[in-house]
Amino acid sequence: MLHKSFAKHSCRSFSVLKKLKNLEKSPSSKVSHTHDQFKPLSEAQVAYLDRAIRVDQAGELGANYIYAGQYFVLANKHPHLKPVLQHMWDQEIHHHNTFNDLQIKRRVRPSLLTPLWKLGAFVIGSGTAIISPEAAMACTEAVETVIGGHYNDQLRCLNNQYEMDKIDGTKGQSLEIQNLVSTIKQFRDEELEHLDTAVEYDSHKAVPYIVLTEAIKAICRSAVWTAERI
C-alpha cells in the first residue's frame, strides 16, 4: 500500500518535468493524440481553400509586379514618391512571400497563367506610371479596392464555413484556419492603407479618372475570376 502511494507520488513529482519532455517532441505526441483532433475538411471546404490560396498568391504576385513597374518608372522622375512606393512595394513583397510559402506548404498548385500575370501587372504598373504619377495612384486605388473587397469576401467565407466538429463532440475553428484568417485580415488592412495613401497622393486628379479606375477594376475582377480557376 505504502509502496503504491509512494510510486504514485514519485510519478506526480516528476510530472512537471514530463511536460517538458513532451514539448520537445510535440509533433509526434500529437499524432497519436487523436481525441482533440478535428474531423477532416469536406471536399468543398478543401476546394475553397485551394482556390483561395491560389488566387491570393496570384493577386499578390500581380501587386508586387505593379509596384515594381511603378517604381521603375517613377522612382527617379519623382523622388518625393520614392519612399512611399518603396514602403508599399516592400509590404507587397512580404505578402507575396507569405502566400508563396503557404502554397508550397499546403501543396496548392500555382496559377497556370503566372507568366501572363507577371507581364500584365508590370505593363499596367509601368503604363499608368508613364501617363502620370496621378494615374499610377489611380491604378493603385483601383487595384487595392478590388483586392480589399476580395479579401473581405474570403474572410466572410472562412468565418462562416469553417466551424469544424471535433472528434470529442465540441466545435471550433482550427489553428490553421485561424492563422489564415489573421493573415488575410492583416493583409487586407495593409491593402486598404495603400488605398488611402493613393488617395492622399492625388489619385482623384488623374486625368481620365473614371475610365482608368473602372477599366483597371474590370481587369482585376476578371483576373481574380480566372486565377481562381486556371
Binding site: V31, F38, P40, A47, N100, R109
Partner: protein, 258 residues
C-alpha cells in the same frame, strides 16, 4: 466541363496533419488496407503478378488461394467502367492498385500523417526516383504490358494513369530536397520529371542488364538533364530580364544627355 476539372482537382490543399483526422491514405483507392479488395489485390500483386503478369489469371489464382468465391472478380473492378479497347475492369483495378500502393510506399516513411518520426533530412530527388524504379523490379518482365494498358487512350488514361503519374512526380518533388517553385516552373518541373520517369520505365521494360544497372544509369542521366534544363531556363530568364532593364536604362541615360 465537369470532367477535366475533377481530374485536375485530385490534388488539392493539404490541411495539416496535427489538427485534422487523417483521410484514407490510399486515395484514389476507395478502400483501406483491411478490406477484402486490398487483401486480394495485394496477394495477387505479390504472389502471382510476377509470374502471370497483369492479367485475370493472376487475380483468379489469388482468389483461389484465399478460398474466395469467383464473384469477387467482378466486385474488384466495380470502380472502373468497362472499356472496349482496354483490359477488364478487375485487371485495371489491379494496375491502379499497383500504381497507388507503390507511390504510397515510396513516401510512407516521410509523410508526417503516416509516421510519427519524420527524418530530419529529406532524401534527394534522385534517391526517390531510383527507389520508385526499384519497386518496379518484381514486375519488370511485365512492364511493357503494364505500360501499354496505361497508355491506351480512353477513360483509364485520363482518370487514373495520368493523374497517378502527376501525383507521383508531385510527391517526389514535395518529399525531396528539390527546390519547389511558385510560378510556371512548378508545372514544367513536374512534367519533366514525369517524362523522365515514363522513359525510364520504358527503358526498364527492355532492359536485360544485370540487376537493371543500365536502367538506373539511364534514369540518373535523364534526371540530370531535367535539372540542367531547368537551370538553363532560369539563367536565360535572369539574363533576359537583366538585359531588358540595362537597355532601358541605357536609353534613358542617352536621352538625358541629349
Amino acid at each position: 466541363m465537369r470532367f477535366p476539372i475533377r481530374v485536375l482537382n485530385r490534388r488539392l490543399y493539404h490541411p495539416n496533419a496535427l489538427e485534422y483526422q487523417g483521410k484514407l491514405n490510399l486515395l484514389p483507392l476507395t478502400y483501406g488496407s483491411d478490406s477484402l479488395q486490398y487483401k486480394v489485390l495485394d496477394h495477387s500483386l505479390k504472389t502471382h503478378v510476377p509470374s502471370y503478369g497483369f492479367s485475370e489469371r493472376a487475380l483468379v489464382a489469388s482468389i483461389n488461394d484465399l478460398g474466395l468465391g469467383s464473384s469477387v472478380l467482378s466486385a474488384l473492378g466495380a470502380s472502373n467502367s468497362p472499356s472496349l479497347f482496354n483490359s477488364s475492369p478487375a485487371v485495371l483495378e489491379l494496375v491502379k492498385f499497383h500504381l497507388v500502393t507503390k507511390r504510397s510506399a515510396l513516401t510512407s516513411s516521410l509523410d508526417p500523417t503516416r509516421t510519427p518520426e519524420v527524418p530530419q533530412q529529406l532524401p534527394t530527388l534522385e534517391t526517390l526516383f531510383q527507389q520508385r524504379l526499384e519497386l518496379n523490379k518484381p514486375v519488370a518482365p511485365h512492364l511493357s504490358q503494364l505500360l501499354s494498358m496505361l497508355s491506351i487512350p480512353g477513360e483509364f488514361l485520363v482518370k487514373t494513369a495520368l493523374p497517378e503519374l502527376h501525383s507521383l512526380s508531385d510527391d517526389m518533388v514535395y518529399f525531396s530536397q528539390a527546390h519547389d517553385s511558385h510560378d510556371f516552373a512548378w508545372y514544367s518541373k513536374r512534367a519533366a520529371i514525369s517524362c523522365a520517369f515514363v522513359s525510364s520505365e520504358l527503358f526498364m521494360a527492355q532492359d536485360k542488364s544485370h540487376n537493371f544497372n543500365d536502367t538506373f544509369e539511364f534514369a540518373a542521366e535523364k534526371l540530370h538533364n531535367v535539372t540542367k534544363l531547368g537551370q538553363y531556363y532560369t539563367n536565360t530568364e535572369e539574363y533576359m530580364w537583366y538585359t531588358l532593364l540595362m537597355s532601358i536604362n541605357l536609353a534613358k541615360s542617352q536621352l538625358a544627355r541629349g
